[in-house]
Amino acid sequence: MADLHGLAQALKQLDDQLVNCMRCGMCQAVCPVFAQTGRETDVTRGKLALLEGLADELLKDPDAVNDTLNRCLMCGTCQANCPSGVKVLDIFFQARAILTGYYGLSPVKKAIFRGMLANPRLFNALSFIGARFQFLFTKKADELLGSSCARFQAPLIADRHFNTLAATSLHARTGSLNTPAGTSGLRAAFFPGCVVDKMYPSVGLAVIKALNHHGVGVYLPANQACCGIPVLSSGDRQGFNRLVEQNVKLFADADCTALVTPCASCTATIKELWPEFYDGSADIGAELRRLAEKTMDISEFLVDRCGVAVFEPVPGASVTYHDPCHLKNSLGITRQPRQLLESAGAHLQEMEDAGTCCGCGGTFNIYHYETSKKIGSHKADCIVASGASTVTTSCPACMMQITDLLSRRQSGIGVRHVVEVYADRL
């Protein structure tokens, strides 16, 4: 039991934050996981109570608490709606790190986080090979969405409909870029994020097209590392530190007005989680905060800094917009993506519950696929009911999840990033 006592002591660090939960239970109204399961252990109040129980040594079952803690999308909706202002995501990131410390990082995760993600060259090479050979294992599922499904029974893929790795990744197409500020006088550092780079290069190309159009210089260095959110979510603080350091060094010399990303998760991670959770070398602290401060979602940058062009409405077709949790809940950005769509002349048809989670939640989708599908099913219903022919969003992870949902329904609705819709008109 010495170990358990050590774990409890470690969790005591969270005491000042845990005590703020007054157990009012209002999180039950907004938690997507609880909506599916109805179990108190799946809602924030329950998870916070369990952490406190473990810290106070009233509970002796860390396995169950750990499982519970991982049954969370980290969508932040509870935090955005908490009457007491409990910093739920902070607590959960820290608690996951403490529990990962207790259990140790699994060999698979260690290989992925510290081997692959921290070595962009290796990651790029592996995805290059993957893109060549994936046809052996997959078959086309939906032409419109370009989705595929597994050719053979594959436990990790299950019945998912997914976008395969792009034949040519973004970095392979563009190489590194470093262009001077144009008419706008602005220069943007561009952080595409892993999913855009390897799965949705078209989104990255749309970003570059839009930046070029507005006379914004682009700084796109080679060998960017993952922003670190999957690593931090799994409680690997050490791996997270390494990724942050690599990226900070890469962007340190860029003389840019802003760092832009087309990925809601990357934006929120760089902006909020880097300054909060990086606890490595103090040398990069100032540079890290400077980068975090100027990090912007691509729509936010285009709308607020560039002054977007307004185009004639496109007759007929309508689009709907899904708010990614990391933009809406973490950063409060809801206006600019919609404005970008309207600027592009798209007829914006709001769906019901545009701001509720699609159920992806990063690795949540891998470990809790059935629950993820159920949560997503409501999102798919709302998308279909909106009557729009295309659903847009600002996060490539949401795009993957929504593609899976719509492809399995053969709904005939396209999935695009808002910046793609805008770039189409340029």
């Binding site: 157990r23 239970g25 108190e40 252990t41 369990l50 009233l58 079952d61 169950a64 007491s84």
Partner: protein, 462 residues
């Protein structure tokens, strides 16, 4: 921590009845049902069961009775009295799979629901049909109708529209043997038998287990107007409340915020509230448009006559929302000041509000505790909110004494221990002070007659 021995055979019986995935016996699962929204120590149940139909619910009740095991029914667990803490262990029975709205009758104006239906969902479904279910407890987005009825929940509209009890027309519930008992009816008038709905409302899970509830619906008001009046003294604000009622005007909502709360809300939202004001009254009149226009003018006049320096009448939805946002912010803003909020609901006759507010200020000083007071001035239901930190043992002892003092003063002013939160564990020991030993004895004999093994939410209320 109590972990009463629930026999494995009982767990197997539950699993056979409701399905193994709906019976929880793991330590973490049980811990997650050891608390509610009251700042009280957790107590673990022996197991947690989620019946999927009212038939299963009835069988669960009779199994518990057969084994003599405590049974605590739990909806959303938002109650503030400790009423769903399994004080003596036993079985927590969740109603969150019993969520059917069985019927909404637009001709006879009633709804029949299962106990797990969420209050706000019912209100929204009813509103879609052009009708109105007025009770609006603060936790309505998550609270259940079963819980609302068991606790006789109130809300902001209590003054004009009453509380949950005013809308319960009929109840169906299981007695301890799992037999279905029916009381009330779908008719407006009903004097058949004992008034069982009256008995069951506010019974805090101690007399039976709800399976269906029939609720009265009413036509919604056609229009509403909101205003905010600023006062330099609590007395002036309270006298205004009395004067409005005396002028034969019954606002839908008449809320008070004291200076401490005003300042806290202002530093939280910066919406431009008058931080110097001793009190604010937030008032909404509703009904027929002509009546509303008339009432609004009169209320404004009464406010001014009673010393209000400024009265702001909302001219549009945005301004109306701004007024009510201030009220909605009261608890969240106070909650952010300190880790723990002890939210009380001592209630006094309207005319005693100034005396009660003064008493609260004295108690705040005497026990050296910050107390923010807001609440339903129109019906005398105040929410003195003590800000503290549950980890500070010395301070929590002072909180406990302050709470006792609040009850004492409220009862001395002809008031009551609880306007809308219930007695539960939190106030059980003060009950005698208000009602006397004979009344408690009567309650106990009643309870013993319908629940001889004392399995229904034991240790609560009496």
């Amino acid at each position: 921590m109590a972990q009463p021995n629930i026999q494995d055979s009982l767990v197997r019986d539950f699993a056979a009845l409701v399905g193994a995935e709906f019976v929880m016996t793991g330590e973490a699962d049980r811990y997650a049902y050891s608390y509610d929204a009251a700042a009280l120590p957790p107590v673990m149940p022996g197991c947690v069961v989620r019946p999927g139909s009212t038939e299963e619910l009835g069988r669960v009740v009779s199994l518990c009775n057969h084994h003599g095991v405590p049974l605590i029914v739990r909806g959303a667990g938002t109650n503030l009295s400790g009423g769903t803490i399994p004080q003596h262990g036993g079985v927590v029975v969740l109603t969150n799979r019993l969520t059917r709205i069985v019927e909404i009758n637009e001709e006879d104006l009633y709804a029949v629901v299962e106990p797990g239906v969420i209050t706000a969902r019912l209100a929204a479904e009813v509103a879609k049909r052009g009708l109105f279910y007025p009770p609006d407890p603060g936790s309505q987005t998550v609270s259940t109708i079963g819980g609302n009825v068991a606790e006789n929940a109130g809300g902001l509209r209590g003054l004009k529209y009453g509380v949950t009890k005013d809308y319960v027309m009929g109840v169906e519930f299981f007695d301890v043997e799992g037999q279905l008992i029916k009381g009330g009816s779908k008719t407006v008038k009903c004097v058949t038998g004992l008034n069982l709905p009256g008995l069951m409302v506010g019974s805090e899970g101690a007399l039976g287990v709800f399976s269906r509830i029939t609720l009265r619906l009413i036509p919604p008001p056609q229009s509403a107007r909101s205003m905010m009046a600023v006062f330099a003294s609590i007395r002036a604000a309270s006298e205004t409340v009395a004067a409005i009622i005396a002028a034969k005007i019954l606002p839908a909502t008449l809320e008070l915020m004291d200076n401490f709360t005003i300042r806290t809300v202002e530093s939280f939202r910066r919406a431009g509230l008058p931080t110097e004001a001793a009190a604010l009254l937030l008032i909404e009149v509703d009904g027929h448009p002509a009546q509303v226009a008339d009432d609004a003018v009169k209320v404004e006049q009464i406010c001014r006559e009673n010393g209000s320096e400024t009265v702001t009448v909302a001219r549009n939805a945005e301004e109306r929302n701004a007024i009510w946002q201030a009220r909605r912010d009261a608890l969240p803003a106070l909650a952010k000041l300190k880790p723990t909020c002890v939210l009380e609901d001592a209630t006094v006759p309207r005319s005693r509000i100034p005396a009660m507010i003064q008493a609260l200020q004295e108690i705040s000083r005497e026990y050296r505790l910050p107390i923010g007071t807001f609440g339903h001035a129109g019906d005398g239901n105040l929410h003195p909110t003590i800000l503290t930190d549950r980890r500070d043992k010395e301070e929590m002892e002072r909180v406990e004494r302050a709470v006792a003092a609040i009850f004492e003063r409220a009862v001395a002013l002809d008031g009551t221990l609880s306007g809308e939160h219930g007695i539960g564990i939190a106030k059980a020991r003060f009950l005698e002070q208000e009602v006397g030993a004979a009344t408690i004895g009567y309650n106990q004999r009643l309870k013993a007659a319908v629940d001889p093994k004392n399995i229904l939410n034991p240790g609560k209320m009496v």
